[in-house]
């Protein structure tokens, strides 16, 4: 029996994973969530910004990983629009432009924000580090127009914004290594205040930057999105995601425990 258990057909594992992903979607439930310090720090920082301030969000993720950072973008923008903080969207990932456009428009409609006055999407320019460095000198030297090709001189909320000196915070929503690029070039060279929201797989890489305060806050994966949603009291796809992730985590832990029990029993029998 234990030998069978050790060599269980992987299709059974796949079916179990599918079930624990699908069931919470059909029968939503809620799990009490405590807010961790890095997310609380980001919330407090934005909450303390005076009305009329501007933050920049860098949407550095693609279609394969948008499920985790998108709820973070949504929650942070809702908070910003409630506080009358303006939002500039950019991206270092070419495929993120339509994704950023969609989420910005969705939140703007819900909160009654006006394009060009409360928020703007500048879009994508190639050159990663050169884009970060160029905007530090002058944003207009990199983005002379927004993603709709409207000259930025005609966009009201950008009239008093020249470079990072007028940006209160940069939030990097990333599924790759761009947080490090922003810290290396944006923070170190221009003293830009940076926070991050990253996918679960790269969370552990962010901790050295949190300790050195090069990141003022961090939203780790679905949990970070759910925590921010809790802070602004607007439960959305981040909360749904963390509930599903909870069950999948439990399943994987359960499978590992069962696999190890079978392994030890089998080994003892062989001895």
């Amino acid at each position: 029996m234990f030998e069978k258990l050790m060599n269980i057909d992987r299709r059974i594992v796949f079916t179990l994973v599918a079930l624990v992903v699908i069931i919470p979607m059909l029968a939503p439930f809620s799990i009490p969530l405590t807010v961790a310090e890095p997310t609380q720090n980001l919330y407090d920082y934005i909450d303390a910004l005076p009305p009329g301030s501007t933050i920049m969000i860098s949407f550095d993720y693609g279609p394969s990983s948008f499920v985790e950072p998108e709820p973070m973008a949504e929650a942070v923008m809702k908070h910003c629009f409630d506080k009358e903080v303006n939002v500039i969207g950019i991206t270092l990932e070419i495929q993120a432009v339509p994704l950023a456009d969609k989420v910005m428009q969705r939140v703007a409609v819900e909160k009654g924000a006006v394009y060009g006055e409360d928020y703007v999407l500048l879009g994508y320019r190639p050159g990663d580090t050169f884009v970060i460095l160029g905007m530090g000198a002058e944003i207009a030297s990199v983005f002379d127009s927004d993603y709709l090709e409207k000259p930025i001189t005609e966009i009201p909320m950008l009239q008093n914004i020249t470079n990072y000196d007028q940006i209160s915070l940069l939030l990097v929503l990333a599924a790759g290594s761009t947080v490090e690029d922003w810290i290396t070039y944006g923070h170190t060279k221009f003293d830009l205040q940076i926070a991050a929201g990253v996918t679960g797989v790269i969370v552990s890489q962010m901790y050295p930057y949190l300790q050195t305060k090069q990141l003022i806050g961090l939203m780790p994966g679905f949990r970070g999105a759910a925590e921010y949603e809790k802070l602004i009291d607007a439960f959305g796809s981040g909360t749904k995601g963390i509930n599903t992730a909870s069950l999948v985590h439990l399943l994987v832990i359960g499978l590992v425990v069962i696999g190890n029990i079978a392994f030890f029993v089998q080994r003892r029998r062989e001895e």
């Binding site: 190639p126 552990s204 949990r223 999948v248 985590h249 994987v252 069962i258």
Partner: protein, 214 residues
């Protein structure tokens, strides 16, 4: 000459960019800004190079009829379709562009679900691989297993229900101490390696970027 010109350019620009970091003088900063602009002009050529390499690779597969060459035809079909509907060629009267509903529809209903599906498959394979491979065979494997279980439990709120604050606190301790120390060591190692490699490239000792050989 073919090698000397790139070596001289690399040396000059490398040294100039280092010097501008140490001088706040207006001329120095203007030079820095100008070279950074040139860098941005060069960047799109990287995209062009990627497209050319993609075409060469898949064209060769189709010509040689290698295994699964039919997928390369799909690559060309997808690429041409997205270029046509995504490029605003006003001169030739094309109505398309990134804002056109056809492009938006293809992106939202083809590319996004396909990319997300590929990434989501990881969950199934990780669960299966964890079940088969995560065995406490040695002390190191046991340590890894226990650490992984603690971090996983601490990552999700259900961990707090099962184990109270202990799950979150234990996860936080692991991330703040062993993880942070290891990550910092890796960052320092990578940074020192990058500095020494940069010096080798600027001084012309490392020449592999020229196409191999000396």
């Amino acid at each position: 000459m073919k090698q000397q010109v790139p070596l001289v350019l690399c040396f000059l620009f490398g040294i100039v960019m280092i010097l501008t970091e140490f001088s706040p003088h207006a001329a120095s900063q203007a030079t820095y800004k100008e070279i950074a602009n040139w860098g941005r002009v060069i960047s799109p050529f990287v995209l062009a190079l990627a497209v050319i390499t993609l075409i060469q690779t898949h064209w060769a597969r189709i010509q040689r009829r290698t295994e699964h060459w039919q997928y390369s035809v799909v690559v060309f079909f997808g690429m041409i379709l997205m270029v046509v509907v995504g490029t605003p060629l006003v001169i030739v009267g094309s109505p398309f562009g990134p804002q056109h509903p056809a492009f938006q529809w293809l992106f939202n209903n083809v590319q996004v679900p396909m990319d997300a599906t590929m990434f989501s498959l990881l969950a199934f394979f990780i669960a299966s691989a964890a079940y088969r491979a995560f065995r406490a065979r040695t002390f190191e494997a046991t340590l890894l297993l226990v650490t992984a279980v603690i971090v996983m439990l601490g990552n999700v709120p259900i961990g707090d229900i099962i184990w109270g604050d202990t799950a979150s606190n234990a996860r936080q301790w692991i991330l703040d101490n062993p993880n942070l120390s290891a990550r910092r060591g890796i960052i320092l190692g990578i940074s020192l390696g990058a500095i020494s490699q940069s010096i080798r490239i600027i001084l012309g000792i490392e020449r592999s970027y020229l196409g191999g050989g000396d």
